[in-house]
Symmetry: C2
Subunit: 934 residues, 2 copies
């Protein structure tokens, strides 16, 4: 490329110069240098375009272009504008980053009536006229801004008259008329006449491509994809080759491997007697590349060679455009092929086997986030297609949580629990969800809502549980009285079967088979993940609340359970009454117990002092009051029952995970979640009272309403939950820890290596740990004495409040581990309520680029991440043996996993289905790459 | 004091040895050294007591005590246990920190039947018997653990029989019987006989004092006051002198200045023929110290000398105990006098005038927090007393916000607004308050609730507004249907007048005059505060929302307004409909405006490009849609009206504060606060619907319900407010900034130096500032152009989210000032909802010492304070000129003010009434002292 020049011949550039030459141009240069059959051409650089936008056409540019066109004339033996042997050109846009369809391109440039006749003479009339009408159509639209429709109308009328299906079948007479009519259209619509001088055509075409850089849709596209506006486009000028030069010609697209499956076969399609645009237009159905073996056996072999050459050269799957002109092959473009996650995995693994790339490269070739497609249940493709054909596609919403589910539609939590507890899979369908629907979500196999965005309550909770959710499905109209939902004329009744595709956001009527992937067998993915395990430093655990979750986690390679949420265990219909009894009596019962405890301690402290008799009496009185209390007995009985349930829950999970740590978080949910919604109770009580009903039902509802009112909080997220409950109602945590210790000892007795760890949530200050831990440890010791078993139970704390992160140095000596609850930490650090933020303002923030990413999806490094780093550093300083993990939703997000790796965490914990993603992302982090999901 | 000895003679110790000698003992030593008439004695040190608790009575202690008692015998010329001239002793407890009434003391020790007879012979029989019965009574209770009641019963019967009013009037015959009966009681109740050997009496008494260090009430007291348990008590053994040795004897208490007013007069009382305990027992009414001039002129003069000597020596007001034994004066104790805030101020200032102390010392002598008593409106004392006598004291609650108020009781916000807007002062009385009551609170002069603690919503909001609040007043029973409240049989109706004493928590029926203090005149306080101003580095501004507030702030010395909350301005009944119309139409109107704005900007960017015509059309369409929208017109009209109101609000405030900065915070409240409560609407609509009413009322309620539902949030504190509203509904902030700029320019036109500053609340990321500030600055520039006035308007941001503190380095270059919103910062850092926390768990935390102080009252240095320090450091580093203040509730808390000083803030901002507190606390901080409020 000449100094200070704005142009570059194909043989002068290379693949590395995408900035200046655009992606397409750079690869054309590279292929030219490789000696592949590329039609000759040159590139006007993006610097010229930039200059154009700043000061108009760069001085001297046009002279250079003319000189290079003359070079093309020499190379091709044709002459630009010469009726005898006319050289035709393509003028294409092409920027550093692909902006498909956003900018303009002109083909077959150089034709006027003279050169068309000349071309007809040299080739065939039909071909020449076909090129002419293509050129007029494109040039008129792009340069002269003539609307497209009149041209389409002409072609359509002509096909009708000629009784043919496609433009390719139109004969020379037809096309002659088409060209005439096209010229008339231009005359009518264009303010200036169609230039007949090929040089003027070229100059206008180049300027049009320059201008197309700043057309509104290109600007919008760049804004959306954060592509700088001053990159500008290069312009490729190339000698035309013609796939439409008869039935021994054609155009096609070739992938060096199957982009859907990754199988190592040539994959693609071609169309005889067609230019490239025809292949993708859909007017004619292209043939499979396999058929080329028969139609063009020689070309087919040659093409296979080109494909292999390019794949070897670029060391990656290529997407190649080619044209056959009278049985001669030309390559017009190559680029790295887009592929499915399945293909990405298979390709990466097989290229390692083939010795083409290294294992580390293979690990970096697969965007970790895309693995979700392979890991979650999905609808059987064929069955889904059938459903679409049968008109069973009901609606589309936002794909808020991936996966697939099929089950009976239920419209509230009560119905969900009733039906699901009979073993019937149910899909919860709600106008929107709130904390009151949690039980329903826990019991459902999937969730569908009419309102809300992808960080709405329904979405977050369902994602946390690894189930599919479709939200914001506006077509759903709820008719509360008749218990029906109308959807565009269809009626959905409670109990009707529906299926959700959480990947696409599609909702189907009826049952569709779901397929649960299995990665435990010897697959490409499992091999890739084993390589990942060899590279990563970060451990990967699962968030798992049930034995099923635990088994799922184990199959996917979870190295333990990083978060077992005990609150979900209370939602079973046979358990709910007990937790409600606990909550309704907790305050009074805890006070009574506290009085006994205070008296006991005072007596202990008094020793044999003179105050002893008084204190003994105080203790006796306190014990008597407790023993007389109906509330206390109800409370204690309910706690006992819950303890039995919890013990067996824990036993099963610990057994599945034997030999691996299971971090059990003590109750953390806001308490009102266990009661019916305050609002619905308020409405019901108001109605019953208006009817003057003095039924037992009213009394019961009023009792519940009272309890719900007493548990209500202005801001439950900042409320009475976590260790605050553990301190004010100590019996609840005591019960849980006893259940954990008993489960552990039980297994120990059966020589099973149970490793329960107790995690205390929502700690803000070390005093909370100092008050809770000795008490809870005492219970573990007591159980060990009672059972005669010796197990070790570590205690740890969640770091989910900024205060905890700031006090990490004080907390660390008290515990064996930290686990960052990054969801809550994000809520508190930003002051964003996850339940409301997206709909109210976060959606707006993301749309307007006020935040680079949703902080509930990708961890905010600047703020939340800074707290994490501080806590890691100061925690480790205070306790060298401290183990540190993260168990928020971020644990399954590749970018956040990279952060965790860099921040020096020991592990991340995520939904079982996301474990492979985390394993891969952790390896990529270790490989020092910051591979971000798009 | 001998080496390795556990005892110390009075002449050997000094005031500095409180650790070892106890406060009382150390001062006895000091007075002995000063040559004052102190009866001889010695001290058994606290080290002996500690030894006693660790290993029993220290070896050799008893021998030392005996030797020292012999020294006392020599000094007094009497002999311990000698019937001829018996020496009697007092054995008193006394620790480093005063623990009044918690430990034991024994007087008149050494009496048995022999020594009593001897004493009777030397003095008078009545006196000797009086001493004996006192000794038996005290020794039996303290050492032998005999209950107190039987002794009291004997005395009571005896007074009845003798027909006298007081024990002092009982004759020798009566007393002889009393002693006999006392001995009988001991025989009956005590497991061991009463020791007649004085030496055994002494040894048991000393041990009893040692033991009393660990009696349950002493332990509880130390726990509550955080006094270490291993300090232990000293024991003072002193020769008795007798105020009960006839009518030429007596006992009394003397303050060197009036502890209530601070006036420099001797103040105190005495009782002839009495021991010290009689003065305080209340059985006989003591005489004023002034009367001593007549009764004991010589002693009176002598006492005045002692008082002056001690005050000069200790350089502070003294509280002195004395005894007159047969016209001889003895001083038994001196200590620094407790005093009222009023007295503390006057004393400090006058002692400076007298040259006794330095100004800096004076500043440190007044606990800043106690000034509140002098600064807030209070009920007229006499009128209050009258009300009590008339039986108008209705109930008592928690004194949640100090001050006083009198007005008509109203039971909901609607009534509050209706009555208050007619100029009638109202007191809002509610079962509890929530965010829905804010309008009512804003309109009321005081708030009274039946439930909730001192950090409840009502308390916090009312305190923020500087009005009195009494909460948790459990005696109030609401009868919703009849609109009455019953209080212990009384009925309170809406419209009845009541008065609140926010200092004491007392509620009165009827009107009681309130007195508004004035510190602007030349008072002691104003002089002290001027000295404070000379010492402090920290500026003091006011949180003021109205012109009245601003005037109040000015009078109290506010150097500007640090927080002017615009949301309260919208609650006036004539304004509320407009803000509601804004909220109900904001979403749709903002979207329409956004579309116009987007189109406008795209057109601007397009320049003369080819896209221009398309974009022009887009803009025209957007403008048309906006112009056709009824919602938009309603929205715009309402905004215009609000702007007019705001402009005049700001004008008045800026005028009051001319020459000083006025920081105006743009709208920050959660939006639902401007609508009626969602719950009450839900209830009303449910009822109206149940009645099948299709009234216009129902339609209107349903419309409001819909709006309330759309503004509802799970966690409003973490919700759609502050700059999030400013970004999503830009017209609201635009309107406010325009009003501010117009107000400023208007004043400027009248040559008034207006200094408005705009504060953007709830910023989490610099992108929010970058999006908002240029837009708002543009409006200021526009107004300046339009008015031709040139004012400077600084923009700043609140730091109230952890994210903002963590990103301070990025925020600082964008703004002129930071202001810490420490209330919200505390909420987010701890994850505590201020509205709910106290009742649910924070009360428990404080009770159980899990937190050293309520973090909403005193800034949490470890967590919140760390964020503050980080933000100050990094903010200043990024912007040298950054001005930094704090405007949360902590701005009026002395301990938090000390923190702000140390963290390097420029100013604090607090309620106008708290400005003097802040001025003083800031001076104390500068003086390098950490004076904490108790």
């Amino acid at each position: 490329m000449g100094e200070m020049s704005f142009v570059c011949r194909f043989r002068e550039g290379s693949a590395g110069e995408r900035d200046l030459l655009g992606g397409k141009g750079a690869n054309l240069c590279e292929m030219t240098r490789l000696g592949l059959p590329v039609p000759p051409g040159f590139i006007i650089t993006s610097a010229a375009c930039r200059e154009y936008w700043q000061q108009g056409e760069p001085p001297g540019l046009w002279e250079e272009v003319k000189a290079l066109v003359h070079e093309l004339e020499q190379a091709t033996g044709r002459k630009f504008g010469d009726p005898e042997a006319p050289l035709l050109l393509s003028v294409r846009s092409g920027a550093k980053f692909s902006m498909p369809g956003m900018m303009d391109t002109i083909l077959n440039l150089g034709l006027n009536s003279d050169t068309t006749q000349g071309l007809a003479r040299r080739t065939e009339e039909r071909f020449a006229l076909d090129c002419r009408r293509r050129f007029i159509q494109l040039f008129a639209r792009v340069v002269l801004k003539v609307p497209a429709q009149p041209f389409e109308d002409v072609l359509s009328r002509m096909r009708q008259r000629a009784r043919v299906e496609t433009d390719a079948e139109l004969g020379p007479r037809d096309l002659r008329q088409v060209v005439q009519q096209f010229e008339a259209i231009v005359g009518e619509y264009s303010p200036e006449p169609f230039p007949s001088d090929p040089w003027r055509q070229l100059r206008l075409a180049i300027e049009a491509v320059f201008k197309s850089w700043n057309n509104p849709r290109a600007i919008a596209y760049r804004e959306h994809h954060k592509i700088p506006h001053d990159l500008c486009t290069a312009v490729t000028v190339q000698a035309m080759v013609f796939g439409n030069m008869g039935w021994d010609s054609g155009s096609g697209v070739l992938f060096t491997r199957d982009p859907a499956t990754g199988e190592r076969v040539l994959y693609g399609e071609y169309l005889p007697n067609a230019q490239g645009e025809d292949v993708v237009s859909g007017e004619r159905t292209p043939k499979s590349i396999v058929e080329m073996d028969q139609d063009f056996p020689e070309i087919s072999r040659q093409l296979a060679g080109v494909a292999q050459r390019l794949e070897q050269h670029y060391r990656d799957v290529q997407d190649i455009e080619f044209t056959i002109e009278q049985r001669r092959l030309y390559v017009l473009q190559t680029r790295t092929a887009k592929r499915t996650a399945l293909a990405a995995v298979r390709t990466a693994v097989e290229m390692v086997d083939e010795g083409l790339i290294h294992r580390k490269e293979a690990l970096l070739r697969v965007p970790a986030g895309e693995l979700a497609q392979l890991l979650l249940p999905h609808l059987n493709d064929a069955a889904k297609l059938r459903a679409v054909r049968e008109g069973r596609l009901l609606a589309r919403g936002l794909n808020a949580s991936p996966g697939a589910a099929t089950g009976k539609a239920v419209f509230d939590t009560a119905a969900a629990v009733a039906m699901a507890s009979k073993g019937e899979p149910v899909v919860l369908v709600r106008p929107e969800t709130s904390a009151d629907d949690i039980q329903g979500i826990v019991w459902a196999v999937g969730v569908l809502t009419a309102r809300g965005g992808v960080t709405s309550h329904a979405a977050v909770v369902t994602r946390g549980l690894g189930k599919p959710a479709i939200v914001g499905c506006a077509a759903l109209h709820f008719n509360h009285d008749s218990h029906q939902i109308s959807v565009d004329g269809h009626i959905l009744r409670e109990g009707d079967e529906i299926s959700l595709d959480g990947f696409s956001g599609e909702v189907f009527m009826g049952r569709i088979e779901t397929i649960v992937p299995d990665i435990s067998s010897e697959t490409h993915l499992s091999r890739l993940l084993l390589w990942a395990d060899g590279e990563r430093r970060l451990g990967v655990r699962a968030n798992a609340d049930t034995p099923d979750d635990a088994r799922h986690a184990e199959k996917f390679g979870g190295e333990g359970i990083g978060l077992c949420r005990t609150e979900h265990m209370f939602f079973a219909p046979e358990r709910l009454p007990f937790i409600r009894r606990v909550l309704m009596n907790a305050r009074i019962a805890s006070e009574l117990e506290q009085q006994v405890e205070d008296a006991r301690r005072a007596l202990e402290n008094a020793g044999d002092g003179p105050a002893r008799p008084g204190l003994e009496e105080r203790l006796a009185v306190a014990r008597h009051k407790l023993d007389e209390s109906r509330e206390w007995h109800s409370y204690r009985h309910a706690l006992d029952r819950l303890q039995q349930y919890q013990r067996s829950d824990f036993e099963e999970i610990l057994q599945v995970m034997q030999g691996r740590p299971v971090v059990i978080r003590l109750l953390d949910a806001p308490l009102h979640e266990f009661l019916p919604s305050y609002e619905s109770l308020l409405k019901e009580v108001t109605l019953l009272e208006a009817q003057n009903a003095h039924s037992p039902e009213l009394a019961e509802k009023k009792r519940l309403l009272k309890a719900a009112r007493s548990l209500r909080e202005q801001n439950p997220m900042l409320g009475h939950r976590g260790c605050r409950v553990g301190l004010t109602y100590p019996e609840v945590y005591d019960m849980q820890v006893r259940a954990i210790a008993e489960a552990g000892c039980q297994l120990r007795q059966r020589s099973i290596d149970a490793r329960p760890e107790v995690m205390i949530p929502l700690v803000a200050d070390v005093s909370e740990l100092k008050a809770l831990k000795p008490r809870l440890q005492g219970i573990v010791e007591e159980v060990k004495r009672q059972t005669g078993q010796n197990i070790e139970v570590h205690f740890g704390t969640m770091i989910e409040l900024p205060r905890a992160a700031l006090a990490a140095g004080e907390l660390a000596p008290e515990v064996a581990f930290f686990s960052f609850g990054s969801n809550d930490l994000t809520q508190m650090t930003f002051g964003f309520s996850r339940d409301d933020a997206e709909e109210k303002f976060l959606g707006f923030y993301l749309q307007h680029g006020l935040l680079p990413a949703n902080p509930f999806k990708t961890l905010d490094e600047k703020g939340v991440g800074r707290l994490v780093r501080m806590a890691v550093e100061e925690g480790r300083q205070a306790n060298r043996d401290l183990e540190i993990g993260l168990c928020g939703e971020h644990g399954g997000d590749p970018a956040s996993i990279v952060f965790c790796h860099r921040a020096g965490l020991d592990y991340v914990s995520c939904s079982p289905s996301y474990i492979p993603i985390a394993r891969l992302a952790a390896a990529q982090a270790a490989l020092g790459e910051s591979v971000r999901d798009v």
